[in-house]
Symmetry: C2
Subunit: 472 residues, 2 copies
């Protein structure tokens, strides 16, 4: 018997989860597994980079869940620093380039997994490639940024004198990565300015909730500039970044961090006509098989996922989805069974002690798919009001007009705000109405919740809003 | 027009929530509201008493959500220290006793709300009424205990000498109140012994999970004695408690706290033949109306509630249910509409930094209602493993044999363990299978969760257990 040949493109969350799960189900006699990774690392937590840069996580290697050696010990033929440059779909083979030796080779496959991830959006502006301008997408990026911080620190120390100790970081973008990197730079002792193109930071929230994040960042000493469109990066005499220019102003910078977001890395797949959706991600069926291709699967940051609330696909680059995709693909390629039904759009983050969470649809998402809705916003606390450490929490809820079906929840607060969004994530998955949510049997004890959990208070207010809208 | 007469028996969570909600919907011209409370306080958080005794909450009045004066300012005729002694159902009136003046009176009603709460189980053993033996059901109880602690502190200080500084507290019972009071006594500087009748502390968990609580309490310096049946309270020369006796041993005690649980207070209702269930609580319909009585409602700790997972009624004394009942009753008596569909049995608690949570059925609950099931227990952490402060968390999941329907979840751990049970509470409410749960879109970011949330890890293991049981 000849072993079936599984080939995986991409050695991070989705790709190596798929390889590992397939290996769990089938031994090397039945299934050979080859994986190509163009970078230096496998199976690492990109989401952890801000905490490594900020110093909460001490060593880079703590972010690596499994090293190449560990994968190889499990009979996965992992080719590091090797980039796949071409897929021959009909010929069931692919061409790869060894970035160390420069050699190319063809490798045949019976089954192919595409897990090429996402690439950071990097606007083509003057100075964007100057030393001191950093993305934070990969471990290599993180290391380069840390090296840059050391350099800046050293430079500034050399020049010690009145006022010269101030080091300035400009973060471009105020989404998850932007606000997390703002925290990291603050922790590294920088004066931090966040340049945000939108009306408020955290465009994944409605602007009224983003405003709360803005206020909290102010209070933390982070300057946020909204409606700021970066036009150029200015460099100093040594060629290093010196300032970030916008249409209206100029912001001095010793270091610049780009947190503008990512887009699916699908050049390879598109070159051979694999189907991509409106957001540029590969389109798969429920088993994560690429639409129209019996022997090709795709998962992780390079695919679009079904938004179960909107009934449309979205692109969401998030490790938790990538891991699920990999698990499902690994099962399916090895004769098991698994499906990925879709997402409800849950995301959590923090800036210092401020927790930010969302799930489901924002107002503009709901409008975009033709849903009419009501909103309810309440303030409460994460613990009983009398319990030490009780801090404010704002919950905004969207419910469908008439039906009262939950459409989305956004939470900004402290002390247990973020993971409370899971209540709404499950309720969205189940298609619950806000009326049904008012009687949810949620955990109550004074250290963990007021007697009415903030989510219940929001649901009660949403019920009233639905009723009033229905009779208006 | 004569105002309709609403009368409420019991001035705490359920009763005063009902009165307040009714008043919100109808003014005094339409509805007169009279409420009787035999104690000194209204609308207070009994769940907060352990934290007041332990010193986390400084003042008793912080536990009071609304004073008698505040209720009266909202046109609720509140009669404090006045006990209802008899209900005349046919005559639509009740008799009350003013505990200050000793006077009795009849009051007529058109609609009646029974919210008489629960009374602590207090075994009739020798010495049970000795000074230094305390329940912690009411604010009066809490004050008496605090006075007792002051007295004990003073006595021991007087006797200052080698070793004499040790003060000992014995807590009888290892349920929620027991473990919370153990923490409170520890914080007050006592050597704490918990006497537990069961196999492990926290009988609301399966014994394997209770064992984890036991171990953690050991590590906190709390001695837990399992299978300990109290036989007597021994008193010293001044008549004060000196030790607690069990069949096997004797435990010296300067103070004894009873945390044995409560039972519905329904003597008044039973005397007139109102229906009670197998756990001694009043039986109501979905609108919280007492079964068979058009104009009588009941809610809070004196009623039984439908367990949506087991399909049977249970008695659960918990402020969050009482508040919901009150809200619903208040709406219904005032011409609005609300129902209480039931509970899934969620409860959370903590001992120092150990968090304890459960929802749904334990193994013995499932067996008792004829459900066949599998279990899955996993260990994970509340944050990404590399994120500072990541601490272990154990999740146990029960799923129905063949169908894979979620039946229950128990969590013991630190750092975000308790409120994670809400994920399972909503999933139980929605009747989800553990298979469906594996793809739940839960909030992920390193400070808040590993990339696979512990609940997802447990669900994955439960899926395997269901499959293996089905093919066995």
């Amino acid at each position: 018997m000849t072993a079936e040949r599984l080939v995986v493109i991409g050695g991070d969350a989705a790709g190596m989860s798929a390889a590992s799960q397939a290996r769990r189900l089938k031994g090397p006699d039945e299934l050979s597994i080859t994986a190509f990774e163009r970078g230096h690392f496998t199976s690492y937590s990109a989401c952890g980079i801000p905490y490594w840069v900020g110093g909460d996580v001490e060593r880079r290697d703590e972010l690596i869940a499994r090293t190449p050696e560990e994968h190889r010990a499990r009979d996965i033929d992992l080719r590091m620093r090797t980039e796949v440059t071409e897929i021959d779909v009909a010929g069931q083979r692919l061409r790869s380039l060894d970035r160390e030796s420069g050699e190319t080779a063809w490798t045949g496959f019976d089954k192919l997994v595409i897990a090429t991830g996402a690439r950071p959006v990097r606007p083509s502006l003057p100075g964007m490639d100057a030393p001191g301008v950093h993305g934070v997408q990969t471990l290599d990026d993180g290391q380069a940024l840390l090296d840059s911080l050391d350099r800046v620190g050293a430079v500034r120390a050399d020049r010690a004198g009145p006022g010269s100790g101030v080091r300035r970081a400009v973060v471009v973008g105020a989404g998850y990565i932007g606000v997390e990197m703002a925290e990291a730079m603050l922790k590294r002792g920088f004066e931090v300015t966040v340049l945000n193109r939108g009306e408020q930071p955290m465009a994944t929230l409605d602007p009224d909730m983003g405003r709360l994040v803005h206020d909290a960042m102010d209070a933390l000493g982070i300057t946020t500039v909204n409606r700021a469109e970066v036009t150029a990066i200015r460099t100093g005499p040594e060629g290093r970044v010196s300032a970030v220019e916008t249409a209206d102003s100029s912001y001095p910078a010793d270091v610049v961090v780009l947190g503008i977001g990512v887009e699916p890395e699908t050049a390879l797949a598109r070159a051979v006509g694999l189907p991509v959706g409106p957001h540029g991600g590969l389109l798969t069926d429920l088993s994560m098989r690429v639409a129209g291709h019996e022997n090709i699967w795709a998962g992780g940051d390079c695919v679009e996922v079904l938004d179960l609330v909107a009934g449309r696909t979205r692109h969401i680059a998030l490790g938790t989805h990538a891991n699920k995709h990999g698990q499902i693909i690994g099962s399916n390629v090895a004769g098991g069974y698994g499906t990925f039904p879709g997402v409800v759009g849950t995301a959590v983050s923090k800036v210092c002690d401020l927790e930010i969470a969302r799930t489901g649809l924002r107002e503009k998402d709901a409008r975009a798919v033709g849903l009419r809705f009501v909103t309810a916003t309440i303030e409460s606390t994460g613990r009983a009001g009398y319990y030490p450490g009780a801090r404010p929490m704002t919950v905004k809820m969207l419910a469908e007009y008439r039906s009262g079906r939950l459409l989305g929840v956004q939470i900004v607060g402290r002390d247990g705000a973020a993971k409370r969004v899971d209540i709404a994530a499950v309720a969205l998955t189940a298609g619950m109405t806000v009326e049904r949510m008012t009687s949810l049997d949620l955990g109550y004890a004074p250290p963990f919740s007021p007697v009415w959990d903030p989510v219940l208070v929001a649901a009660r207010k949403a019920v009233t809003a639905v009723r009033e809208a229905g009779t208006a």
